[in-house]
């Protein structure tokens, strides 16, 4: 297997390591004597996954089901959530963890619609995290009264790459994928599309105005994820949303 690494002088290269450390790439002082190799074999997401299990247990000990909702920016997650609260907030108690790099604009849109909302801005550090991880969600849980809730929806940061990698303690993953994004996205972002249980194919009210074919969108999702439930909807007009509400009701029970 090729190995790839960067040296202090900035050169990057790849080569096979079927030999031990006597390979003379610059000055590795300390290599010859006193060096010990520690076998680690530890998953890089292990710490995140441990924290995710803690979150999951916190949800479960309060009888809560948790959903991680992901998508690209502008696909309609917040509109889907608003319509969901309008339909279901009277049936069961919903908490929203609202992840955004900056601003409380989404939280403001959802305020006053019958849910507890915990806002989580991720813009500390290097210009804003591109996803929510388990420790961040753990902090946001502190902003919710879990004893009063049946369902927690985590609205992840809009991004088709990073959120797919991080378990935040959910019981299922859903994504919003709108017909304005292009039918090639499942093939370009297979990790995200393979990770989800449900795909809401949103903005189908725009199909007459676009060069878009719903069947093609569905078959592209199927190519990378044969098991996903795919629900064509328009969160704006309400078309198809009953199927989503039915899925959520079954998920909560």
């Amino acid at each position: 297997m090729g190995r790839f690494h960067r040296h202090d002088d900035g050169t990057v290269h790849s080569h096979d390591h079927d030999h031990d450390h006597d390979h003379g790439h610059g000055d590795h002082s300390g290599y010859a004597t006193g060096t010990e190799r520690i076998e680690v074999l530890e998953a890089i997401f292990a710490e995140n996954d441990n924290r995710a299990d803690i979150n999951r247990k916190a949800f479960e000990s309060n009888g809560i089901r948790a959903l991680n909702l992901m998508s690209s920016p502008g696909s309609g997650k917040t509109t889907v959530l608003g319509a969901t609260l309008d339909e279901l907030a009277g049936e069961f108690a919903i908490g929203i963890i609202e992840g955004d790099i900056a601003t409380d604009l989404d939280a403001a849109k959802l305020a006053g619609r019958g849910a507890q909302i915990s806002l989580l801005n991720t813009n500390n550090g290097f210009g804003g995290e591109c996803h929510l991880d388990a420790p961040m969600v753990n902090r946001a849980i502190g902003g919710l009264d879990l004893t009063a809730l049946d369902l927690v929806i985590v609205e992840n940061v809009g991004n088709l790459v990073c959120p797919a990698e991080f378990d935040v303690g959910e019981h299922a993953k859903a994504m919003v994928y709108s017909v304005t994004e292009g039918e090639d996205k499942p093939l370009k972002y297979p990790v995200m599309f393979r990770s989800v249980d449900v795909v809401l194919l949103n903005k189908i009210d725009l199909v007459p105005h676009l060069d878009a074919d719903v069947d093609t969108y569905i078959s592209r999702v199927r190519e990378v994820n044969p098991d996903a439930i795919i629900l064509p909807v328009s969160a704006r007009t309400g078309e198809g949303m009953d199927a989503w509400f039915t899925w959520l009701r079954a998920f909560v029970r």
Binding site: M1, G2, R3, F4, H5, R6, H7, V12, H17, H21, H28, G30, Y31, G34, T35, E36, R37, I38, E39, V40, L41, E42, A43, I44, F45, A46, E47, N48, F126, G127, G128, E129, C130, H131, D133, V161, C162, A164, E165, L187, K188, P190, V191, R194, R222, E223, V224, N225, P226
Partner: protein
């Protein structure tokens, strides 16, 4: 941004094993289905290692080719495409990923 988070996670794993010793080499195994850009990871590592107090730690990446077991035709194959995990023999998407999702620190050299 993604690779920066990954480097921080790598440094966390390394520290828990290396303790106070100087870290010389960090070996990471990456599956082809992980969305890791090697150049970007290597660059971010040069920033994170200073921040994490292991400025001498060299990052070595070992790549693992993606491999799937097809539930339709029963064959096991390597995957060339970076865009699809469909079976290269029969094009079915009904596959189990055998290799390609690895992302772990395999070993570290300390002094």
């Amino acid at each position: 941004m993604h690779e920066l988070s990954l480097c921080r996670a790598i440094a966390g794993v390394v520290k828990s094993h290396a303790g106070e010793r100087r870290v010389d080499v960090v070996r990471v195994r990456v599956g082809a289905l992980r969305q890791v850009v090697p150049d970007s990871l290597a660059f971010c590592w040069t920033i994170v290692r200073d921040d994490e107090d292991m400025p001498d730690a060299e990052l070595e990446l070992e790549f693992v080719t993606a491999e799937v077991h097809c539930l339709s035709c029963g064959k096991q194959s390597e995957i060339e495409s970076r865009f699809s995990v469909a079976c290269p023999q029969c094009t079915s998407a009904d596959v189990t990923v055998v290799h390609g999702e690895e992302f772990l620190v395999t070993s570290v050299d300390v002094t």
